[in-house]
Every structure is written in structure tokens, then in C-alpha cells.
Assembly symmetry: C2
Homo-oligomer: 570 residues x 2
């Protein structure tokens, strides 16, 4: 019987030579957080670890009566997903999507109740995983995550650490609990993730939407908000920025290095804490290239490198990822969220926070009296899978995931290109339509009606365009699972002004739903500030390409084009 059930906590990472430690951020903690105390019985742990100690101090059940003796899983091999799936699925591939009962090759992992060497810090055994544990989780997990953070993010300060959580939503609630005071102001992207809103809005928070382009927050606009803040009229200046910098939800925008550095510098100047929520980080993909377009030599070299199996391909993938805010964080003001929801599965309810020691320590206190460690089923299975794949294997798995999302993004964009007439010439009124390092923006027009090819909308409405009035505009997303799509409502006969946007979009949404096409309405993501993306006369839909098949994508974009043509003509 393993009686050594009081868990030990892995040593924090060795500070990186030459880097500063984080600055003291304790003035950002609210009063409830300042009052939290560490476990009174800490001294017990020291004694409990002594050999031969008879443990009658803790309140823990005996693992002998845990009903689970062994846990096993059949998992996909790390190279299950192809790095370069065909643009159009082959007949065989299509069938595979439709008939998932054709079982893929799998490999078995297994977790015993008692490991051969329980003293090995990397050992996973159910007698420990299914026991009470420190809020920091099984010691092997932080060891793994610290390697990941060090290799992938390269933080700019020395004494960072990680803390497991039960997903980014949990992390956000914990951060709100740690920092917010009723009446605070929080800065967010002008279009923002409603799941996070639900965490901060109950604090009677004043939401400050920041103007974006397809690289996310525009630094000059952010600086203006902060520099012109009037505390007498507006209350305390915002101390918190919540951002999804890679594949922003819903816009699909990604902040590249220069942009992140500029935003970071402003936050440092005004002492703002940055919550960097990165569920789609590993889903960062190359720019969308239309089927008939030619790649630049540089883009081609990068794509070719990423098709390679082995170390070289892995390195090309890691190099392609945008830098984390942590990489610029000399102050220790970044609180970064990562999650296994997109790279493994959402139901694992498993993610982690990376931040400075003071935030990690207070968040650990919050976890201790809340979630405690994540489920031992989730940590044991996920860690055993990671160990089974190994570091290089896991990186290869991430590349397969990325390739899969890119494939599905391209399915949907190709379908839009086939169902509409796309132009990338920027003739639209929509400022989304820009040419940037992340690809070009597009405006879509109706395809000529074969029955009356000469009938152009511009004749009817007087809009100057070779293709009639614009119907929709969008920028292909650079990460994530969404296309954020603006509908040009101002050509609708019932459109009289911005107040009609919601009504008309709801009407269109319902019409599409009746045709079995279900989008998310854009208003749900509105931070209700001034809009740089969209604005008067443009209503939005968020289209998710993550769970639709190739055929569903093609058919629903056809339906969308038909319904929209009908709707805007009516």
C-alpha cells in the first residue's frame, strides 16, 4: 500500500541567467485576494515526507478502496493527421469523414494503480493521480509545461512559473477573482469573446472596446484611450487588458511580433495587466492563398519546410508561431492562458496559466480552496499520452492539428470563392479589406445570374462597381476556427440607418436557419464600443469551420449565397 499520499510540489524552474525577475505587482490584487492564506498545516508536509512516518494527520482515503485498478486508452499515433492534406478530399478521404466507424490505427496507453518506481517524479500511478493532490497537480505536469513554456514562449523575465487549471474559462474567473473590484474598467478587443465577458461583467465592469484591424488591437488607439482617460468622469483607469491575440475570437485576427511589442509597451507605460488568452495559438496558420494563386518564393519555402516529417519540420512549425506577450514581458505583467481543449479535447478540462510568481502564488491559493488540482483522470491520461508521444511526437501532433484546421479553413474559403464572386481589390467600404502580411481581405459579390447576365445591382441602386453591390466582406482568419463575415446591409431596401442592423441581421439569421444553415450572430461578440471592423451598414456572422464536412461546407455556402442574394434584393 502506498501511504505516501501527501503530494510534493516540483521545484520551480531554474531562473534564466541574465534576465530580471518580475516586478512587484501586488498593488493589482483586490482585498479578498490579499486576505487569502496558505494552508496552516504546511509544516505537516515536511514531517510527512520523512521515511517511516505513520500518516495519521491527513484526511485521505486509502487507495486500496479506489474502485479503479487500471486505466487504459487507445490513442491516435502522433502522426495520425497528415501534414499536407489535399485541397479537395479524395473520394476515399470523403468516405472516411462520413463513416467514422472505420476505426483508425491506435496505440494503447495504460496507467497502473501502483507504478514500478513511485519515487520517480515522472511516474504516473492511479494511487496518486486519484488521491487528493496539491493544487499544483502531479509534479510531473509542471515539469512538462515548464519545458514547453521555455522552448515555445521564451519569457523575458526569470522567475515565471506555471499553474494547472481546468480550462481557460476557469483561469479567467480566477484572474477576475484575484484582480477585479466592482466598478473597474477592462479593455478588450472591439469584437470579443462572450465567455470571458460572462466572467468580468458581473463585477459591474466598464467594458472598453479597442479598435482592431486584422492584426488585432491598434496600438495608437489603445494609447489614446489610456492617455485621455479622465478618472473623475470615467472612474479608475483600466488596469486589465483581456485579449485573444492569435486567431482572435471572433475576428480571426493575429497580433504578430511588432504589434505585440507595441501593445505590451503601452501596457507597461500605463501599468496594465495583460491577460493573454491563447486557445488557438498552435492553430496559427499561413495566409489563405486562392486555389489559382501563385505563392511567393518565401511563402513556398516556409510551406515546404512545414511539410517535412522529423526535427526540421518541427523546427519550422515552432518558428512559424507568433511570439507570446511573455516574450516581451520584462515586468511580469502578463497572465497567459493555454489549454488542451483544442490540442487534445475540451472535455479534459485542462489548461495552464503562465505568469509571474506573485500572480501564480495567489492563483494557487485561489485554486486550493476552489478547483484544487484538475481531475486526476485528466492529468494522468493527458500526461501519459504526452510521455508516450514524447516531446517531438507532441510537436508533430500539434502540426497535424494545425494542418487539419488549415484544411477546413480553406474548404470554407474555397466554397465562398465558388459561391460568390470574390474581389480582393479593396473597392469595398469595409476597412477589413486590406492587404497585410496575414493575407488579403475580400469582398464578395453575387455571381452573374445565368438567366439575366446583364442585370446588375448597380444599375438598380446606382452603386459604382463592375460586379454590382458588395454582399459580404471578410479577412481570411490566420488562426482558430472562425470566419468573421460582414454583410453589407446598406443595400437592403429596409435599411435606413445603424439602428436597423440588428433587426435585419436577425431576420437573415432566421432565414438561414430555416434553410439549415446555422451561423453565430455577430452582435453576441460586440464589446459595444466604436467599431473599426464593420461599423454603420455592416452586420456580422461568425462561421465556424471546425466540425463541418467538406460537403456540408460546399452546400451551405451555396445556400448562403442564394439566400443572401434573395435577401438583399428583396
Amino acid at each position: 500500500m502506498n501511504i505516501d499520499t501527501i503530494p510534493f510540489v516540483a521545484a520551480p524552474p531554474a531562473p534564466r541567467a541574465g534576465l530580471p525577475n518580475a516586478r512587484d505587482m501586488s498593488h493589482h490584487l483586490n482585498s479578498i485576494t490579499k486576505r487569502r492564506q496558505a494552508n496552516k498545516l504546511k509544516e505537516l508536509y515536511k514531517y510527512a515526507a520523512l521515511p517511516g512516518m505513520v500518516p495519521m494527520a491527513g484526511g485521505v482515503p486509502s487507495p486500496t478502496i479506489f474502485p479503479f485498478e487500471t486505466l487504459s486508452a487507445d490513442i491516435l499515433p502522433y502522426n495520425h493527421l497528415p501534414l499536407d492534406p489535399p485541397r479537395v478530399p479524395k473520394k476515399q478521404g470523403l468516405l472516411e469523414w462520413l463513416f467514422s466507424s472505420s476505426a483508425p490505427t491506435t496505440e494503447k496507453i495504460s496507467i497502473p494503480k501502483y507504478a514500478a518506481d513511485p519515487k520517480d517524479p515522472m511516474a504516473i500511478q492511479l494511487s496518486t493521480s486519484l488521491q487528493y493532490a496539491a493544487a499544483t497537480g502531479p509534479p510531473a505536469f509542471p515539469i512538462w509545461l515548464r519545458k514547453y513554456v521555455e522552448t515555445v514562449f521564451k519569457p523575458a523575465f526569470a522567475d515565471w512559473d506555471v499553474l494547472l487549471d481546468v480550462g481557460a474559462t476557469d483561469a479567467m474567473t480566477k484572474v477576475c477573482n484575484m484582480l477585479l473590484v466592482e466598478g473597474d474598467s477592462v479593455m478588450v478587443e472591439e469584437w470579443t469573446y462572450p465567455g470571458a465577458m460572462n466572467a468580468y461583467l458581473p463585477y459591474d465592469v466598464n467594458v472598453v472596446g479597442l479598435p482592431m484591424d486584422n492584426e488585432g488591437i491598434i496600438p495608437a488607439d489603445m494609447d489614446k484611450v489610456l492617455s485621455s482617460w479622465n478618472e473623475e468622469k470615467q472612474g479608475p483607469r483600466p488596469r486589465l487588458l483581456y485579449t485573444v491575440p492569435t486567431g482572435q475570437n471572433p475576428t480571426g485576427a493575429t497580433m504578430l511580433a511588432e504589434r505585440r511589442k507595441a501593445v505590451y509597451d503601452i501596457c507597461s507605460k500605463y501599468d496594465v495587466v495583460i491577460v493573454e488568452d491563447e486557445p488557438y495559438y498552435c492553430l496559427f496558420m499561413d495566409a489563405y492563398v486562392p486555389r489559382d494563386a501563385k505563392l511567393s518564393p518565401m511563402d513556398k519555402a516556409q510551406r515546404d519546410a512545414e511539410k517535412l516529417e522529423g526535427k526540421k519540420g518541427n523546427e519550422a512549425f515552432l518558428k512559424s508561431l507568433p511570439p507570446s506577450f511573455l516574450h516581451f514581458d520584462t515586468d511580469g505583467r502578463v497572465i497567459r492562458f493555454d489549454t488542451f481543449s483544442k490540442t487534445s479535447c475540451p472535455g479534459s478540462r485542462l489548461g495552464w496559466i503562465t505568469s509571474s510568481p506573485i500572480f501564480i502564488e495567489r492563483l494557487t491559493r485561489i485554486a486550493e480552496c476552489g478547483t484544487q488540482a484538475p481531475s486526476g483522470f485528466a492529468t494522468a491520461l493527458t500526461l501519459t499520452m504526452l510521455n508516450h508521444w514524447g516531446w517531438d511526437g507532441y510537436v508533430r501532433w500539434l502540426r497535424g492539428i494545425k494542418a487539419n484546421y488549415r484544411m477546413k479553413r480553406d474548404w470554407m474559403l474555397d466554397a465562398l470563392a465558388d459561391s460568390f464572386h470574390l474581389e480582393s481589390d479593396g473597392s469595398s467600404i469595409n476597412p477589413l479589406v486590406l492587404s497585410t502580411p496575414l493575407g488579403r481581405g475580400y469582398t464578395a459579390y453575387a455571381r452573374p445570374d445565368p438567366a439575366s447576365p446583364e442585370r446588375r445591382w448597380d444599375e438598380k441602386r446606382g452603386v459604382q462597381s463592375a460586379h454590382g453591390a458588395p454582399l459580404i466582406s471578410f479577412i481570411p482568419p490566420s488562426a482558430g476556427m472562425f470566419i468573421f463575415l460582414g454583410v453589407h446591409l446598406n443595400t437592403h431596401p429596409e435599411y435606413r440607418g445603424p439602428d436597423d442592423t440588428r433587426t435585419l441581421m436577425d431576420k437573415l439569421w432566421r432565414t438561414l436557419a430555416k434553410h439549415h444553415v446555422l451561423f453565430a450572430p455577430g452582435w453576441a461578440f460586440d464589446a459595444n464600443g466604436p467599431h473599426n471592423i464593420g461599423g454603420d451598414g455592416v452586420g456580422y456572422f461568425r462561421l465556424s469551420f471546425s466540425i463541418v464536412t467538406y460537403e456540408q461546407t460546399r452546400e451551405s455556402m451555396e445556400v448562403f449565397a442564394k439566400v443572401l442574394k434573395q435577401f438583399l434584393r428583396a
Copy 2:
């Protein structure tokens, strides 16, 4: 591919005929909780459930790229633990405890990625379990839990419901988030669980310890606290009672029916919300009976009934459980916590809350932007195990767990009886020593020293006792995993008054730890109010009998007796 990933929520239980609905408790919610909003996109769910709908609204990954294809576990059969283990383990049994590598018989459970009939609400499949889910968890789970609540607790109001959580600590934090305002007062047992303290103390809470006996909170004392409350001097009257009514941590006290009803009525009178935290509910056991004592005919009949396999034994077990506060709750003011930590394993991080609709609804909002549903690994494995065992099998499993804890309690109490001289005659100054329906209290004296049998402490100190000065007093616990044990420090030569208690107890604790005997210090559980259990001259230890072997128990109680004798003589 299963595209129907937007979860549906199981219908709430049918209200029980003839019972009132819960009263409106919304005045107990704090301002943050009142501001919480339901998901703006609820309407989407209605449409998403329509057949043939192409789902591009949600932000969910495709289950085809979840790395887990099948999950399996070897679990113990429901009748693995004997109902009537021998008082002293047989040689064979002893070896089994020591060499856990002798693998027990197990049964296999397995969870596929896609169930044969995914429309069956009881079906468990990884494509759903590992997907994003409503905060209420997989619909099959509330169905199971509602049956349990209805059968075991029989709530006294009609419209109760359940909500999954990630363990009682999580539940407590959620309830604090829902109800507390900084400066509130919370009532607790005079000795109380520190894990819950960590959840409410940061709210700058005024902790009101309520006097206890071995049936827990004393109603008259509680009424006095509330009736004499002076809001001008003491702030708002307590609106919250936190209690562990079965096998209270640390005292082992259990409130039986009459006591719970009396406490409930006072809470109803003063509009107090009751948090009923019941981790040890199924571990409620019969009174401790010394090895040589004779059982009363009624006790013998109950014990014999509980030894029976099958329905009759199951019924005897369910009948033996104390009533929940829910059973008296005509108002809907009870928030009950149950957990799988002791009945399955703590690492599952799985439990549930039972309460009135308004609390369950607000707690669901809190869960939605925090933990969301518990880990799908935990819910899938636990539910599959429950379904594998079936209702009667699960009740039989609980009986085995109870018998196992009772066996270990008796090991430790028998060891105390052998290492000390026990008296149950109430000669001690400790009010714990009472004869009650839950068994008798004991005071322990040193066994006569064979070397100088005539040397009695009473001669030295003038205490009137046939056995010298009392060393320790305790009441055998009626549930849980702890013995709360008072040390009579007032015979220690360095004891000059209550201020010396902590110093002397810490000294004794360290001496014991050096002898490899590790107890939890009683001060960690002190609500810092007036004490009915203990008080001047008595210091406490909490001894856990849950993970020690028979031999460890025997040896460490011998060591304890020797060290204590030495210590109090010094």
C-alpha cells in the same frame, strides 16, 4: 461524424406531488451574483437541435481529432469489500494489506468514441464526453443523481435540483461567491473544517463558532447566538451556517434526526441558509462497541440486517443513514454538498450540489464562466462504472466502503483500549464524555507500570481517581475517518493556564513526530469561539485512521501512550 455536439440539458425532475415549491431566497444573493447573465446565444441551441442543421455557430473542435479513441478501466466489483470484516485481520488478510501487488479480481468497463445509439440519453461516448458540454454535465448524470437524491434524502420541497461540481471545496467557493458580502458573519461548528475556512475567511468574514456536543451543534446555543445578535455592534446577523453534520471534521459528531430538525427550525426562524457539507454521509457507522461488550438486542438486529447481501441488506443500510437537512427543508434554504471523493476517489474531482431552483440556477451561471462541466474523463468513467454496477450494486459498494471505515475505526479504538486504560464512567472533566445514542465517551489513563504498580499519579497530584490522572478523552466517531482526541494538559507541570495549551501541544506534537507518529494539531480546526468540547486545560489532536494498516495502528498507539505518559510526567 457526430455533428450534434451542442449538448442538451436533461429535463428537471418531476415535482413531487403534495410538496410546496421552494420559497424565494433571492435576497440572499450578493450583487455580483445578481448581475450574472445566462448565455446570450441560448436561442441557437433550439435551432442546433433540429435534424439536418449544419452547425457553424458553435466553437467546438471536431471529435475526429480528439486523440482518445477508446477509454477503458479495470474496476473492482461492487461486492469487493466485505460487509463484515474480522475485528483482527487474519494473517492472510494482513499480508493483502501489505502487499498490494497481489492484484484483486477486476471487471472491465469501456467507453467508445461513438456509442451505438447516441440519441439514448444514458449513452456515454467520448465524442460527447470529451467535447464542450453544458455546465450541467452529461444529461445522464443528473438523471442518476436525481434518483439518488429522491431515494436517499427525500427532500421536503418539490422543485429541488442537482448540479455537478468538481468536489465540495469547489462547491463551497461557488456558494461563497454567490452569497457572501465582505464583512458578513458565518456560523460554523466550534471545531470546523479549515478547507472551508479558506473559502469564506478572505471575505473578511466574522466567524461565529457554535457550541457542540457529540451530536454536533447544540440548538439552544445557536438560538441564543441569533436571538441576542446586536446588529449595531456585531454587523449583519449571520445569514449562513456551514456544517458537516455527519462525521463532523474533526470531531466525528453526527446530527441525528431530532437535532437536525431543531437546527433547521432555528435557521428557518432567522432566515439562515444552511450549507450541508456531507463528504462522510455514507460512512455513517454504528456506535463503537468494545471487544468484550455485549450488544443490545436492537443493535444486534440492525447489525445482522446490515450483514445481509442483497436487497434486504441494502435497505437496512439506507435506513441506517441519518436524514439530510433536505428532508426537513420546506423553505428551500439548504445547499447540500455530496462528493465522490470518499465513495470513489478524490482525484475524480467530482461531486454535486442539491438545492432549490434559484440557488441551482445561479450556481449554474457561476459554473458556466468558471469550471464549466467537470472533466469528461471523470464523468464518463464514473457514470460508466455506476451503470456497470447498477443501482443495487452501487448501494452494495457503499456498504463495503462503510464497513471498511468502521473496521479501521475499530482497529484504532481497540488499539487505544489496549495501550491505555479506558474508562467510560464520565469521571473526566471533559464534557465530551457522555453516553448518547451514538455511543459512550471515554477517558484514558495510563496502564499501571509493571515496574512500580503502586505509583499512581493521583498520589503525586492529588487528583481523585482510581487510575491516576486522566491522559486523554474522546468520543468514538460515528462517521468519517477521524478520532478527535483531547489531551489533559492541566496535569503537565508547565501548565499554568489556557495560554500554555498551544505551546505544550506543539511540543507534544513534535515529540510524537520524532517518534514517527504524525497527528493533525487540533488548533488548525479551531473556530476561535467559546468551547464546549475541550476548553481550558485540554489540547486536541485529530487522528486519521483511513490510510494506516492494522500493524501501524497498533504500534503507533503504543508509541503514543508511552510518549504521552512520559510527557505528562515530565
